[in-house]
Symmetry: C2
Subunit: 139 residues, 2 copies
């Protein structure tokens, strides 16, 4: 099988992912968080999911999330709340500290990505936003 015409786009998407992931990892590390913990706090900014839902949102096994939440709870970033509906279930919510960290982290990510965006002009940014959103909507 030879190259498809999309090879350049696939490469650009993969390279972009590595660069953005690097930025996210660095921003997380500056707050003594792993990328996964930062992502988890981001999810909890506007949700209070059960463990299984959180695992699905993060694409992780439920046992992985148990450990994740255990460490975050020990640091005072999240709280486990027994579900009122189902005695088996546990809901997870961010604490005030966790929300602050999530909000500050998101702001810092935006700032840290600006240098990258600086080489793309207004028209290019609009096109980039439009096409990425179109692509993500298929997901």
């Amino acid at each position: 099988m030879t190259d498809t015409p999309d090879d350049a786009l696939v490469d650009a998407l993969v390279q972009t992912s590595f660069v953005v992931t690097g930025v996210l990892t660095r921003v997380a590390a500056e707050r003594d968080l792993s990328l996964t913990q930062l992502r988890m706090l981001g999810v909890l900014r506007d949700r209070r999911p059960r463990m299984a839902q959180l695992a699905a949102l993060l694409g992780l096994d439920k046992s992985t999330v148990s450990g994740l939440i255990e460490r975050a709870e020990r640091r005072g970033l999240v709280r486990r709340v027994p579900s009122a509906d189902d005695a088996r279930a546990v809901e997870v919510e961010a604490t005030a500290d966790g929300l602050t960290l999530a909000r500050d982290g998101a702001e810092q990510v935006g700032r840290a990505l600006q240098p990258l965006l600086s080489s793309v002009d207004g028209t290019g940014r609009a096109a980039l936003t439009r096409e990425l959103e179109r692509m993500l909507s298929a997901h």
Copy 2:
């Protein structure tokens, strides 16, 4: 500080990174590789770096790369070659098996990303490629 007009683009970039990273992680896992190992093999497709260079390319500590290469060598995917120029240095190269895995992985990544690309038409793909490459060139 309030939202900048780039918030939607930053969000799209971050979401795209998570989606693409998920695809890469899944493709790697199907070959019993971690994302880091797949990335490392990708680097070795067209390079034979020293340990320190490989660490810089991957953004990892040299000690991390020692372990990475140790496990990959045990699996027969890479080979350590003493440098002819500097008796302290070690060059790393992929074996035939490693190259096969790297090539197959890259192809599979392309295929796995097609469903995402399918919602973007030719004009959009061209714009996406152009603007992402422009953005990456700043890096």
